[in-house]
Symmetry: C2
Subunit: 210 residues, 2 copies
DNA sequence: CAATTATTAAACACAGTGTATATTATTCTA
DNA sequence: TAGAATAATATACACTGTGTTTAATAATTG
């Protein structure tokens, strides 16, 4: 499609992108300088400023790509059935994180990537928002809370689980994590405490130790 | 107790602490310089380095205080009954965030405060870990997951809800947020979707719209 | 009051940033 | 494949902010 971009530009951007990723993982965001990035990429420092405003600009445009990829795959997996949608989206989230683990680590490591992290969270929340409303309409449920609240709860807990999982170097396979997350998120944590949840009268069957 | 600290030192640290908070809220962490901090505090720039290594050092020691306060209050509210403990801890978390909203905003705004944010999360997770194990032992439940997983799930979702709540300028009172969090966290989100949760055969009674 | 300790301004070397320029190298395209 | 267009480069420059040192001054302590 867009073959009009000069090869040199493609090459330069690619090299800078790779260099900043490697350096951030090695030394952290703050410790990484533009000079180091261009040295690692084997480019002149002035070249950097031909393409990016500053370090953050380069990092954001690097992460942007991964985020777009996630969005594309989520939209592509859309089906009519919202149950399958939410099921698939959760699978996809963990798969995608595993696939781009290094970049996700940069995102979750906080520095510099905060705006991206927030955008991902907001995107997931709005995605969850849609699913919730669709499901509620279908089931004829009268919402007890504005959908925004559970939507953000879902986004925060999902990202939190992914962050924790990556920090621990993914000790559990992605599918299992997705399953575990569904268990915790749909059913709640009460099942682990052997209690009925407070506030609402909801009966939970609990496993009995034998 | 520790009255041995020179008044001038107390005053200087206090002023620097206040100055950096105000400036970060006004301009963000990165944009704030040591010179600006000392000007705002009406102190010489050299004085800064008599007390702190750098900007981050000052910020961390500022936030440390708030974190210690939270921990102290959590330990103080300890009772024998773990149900009350977890109930009270959640209330306390939202109250404390509301009370120190500005500082929490700095923490959640990512920059510079990441290590504090992580420490708070880890502390909450270990707190939840203890509660889960106590509850499981008491109820004779055979854990289906290592307690670390639900513990981190709880920590992430709690902090996520607090962050969201502060970002939206606390549109809901703290007690209500705590109640909402308990609802979502203990019972899960399935109740909002009108489904039984997947993976496990667990019967949920759902509200029927009339 | 005298001793101690904190604050201060000033000057310094330094690291990193972002821009401008003239030259060289690569690529596009006709 | 030659010529036009564009990209990369080295170098130099001004600038901002950092962190340290020094010697003089001020505040606190006992």
């Amino acid at each position: 499609m867009e073959d009009k971009v000069d090869r040199r530009v493609q090459r330069t951007r690619q090299l800078l992108s790779e260099a900043i990723q490697a350096l951030i993982l090695e030394q952290g965001y703050d410790a990484t300088t533009v000079l180091e990035i261009t040295e690692r990429a084997n480019l002149g420092r002035a070249t950097f400023y031909l393409h990016y405003k500053d370090k953050e600009d380069l990092l954001l445009s690097t992460l942007e790509g991964v985020f777009d990829d996630l969005v594309r795959r989520l939209e592509a997996s859309s089906s009519k059935n919202w149950r399958l949608i939410s099921q698939g989206a959760i699978d996809l989230a963990f798969e995608h994180a595993a696939e781009h683990a290094d970049l996700y680590r940069i995102i979750f490591s906080g520095h510099g990537a905060w705006s991206i992290s927030k955008r991902i969270r907001d995107y997931i929340a709005s995605y969850a928002h849609k699913v919730i409303e669709k499901a509620q309409a279908e089931a004829g449920i009268v919402p007890r809370l504005p959908a925004e609240v559970p939507a953000n709860y879902i986004a925060a807990s999902l990202l939190g689980m992914i962050a924790w999982w990556l920090e621990r170097d993914m000790p559990i396979p992605a599918e299992e994590m997705a399953e575990t997350f569904r268990l915790l998120n749909f059913q709640g944590t009460a099942q682990f405490l052997g209690i009925e949840a407070p506030g609402e009268q909801l009966l939970l069957q609990e496993d009995q130790a034998n």
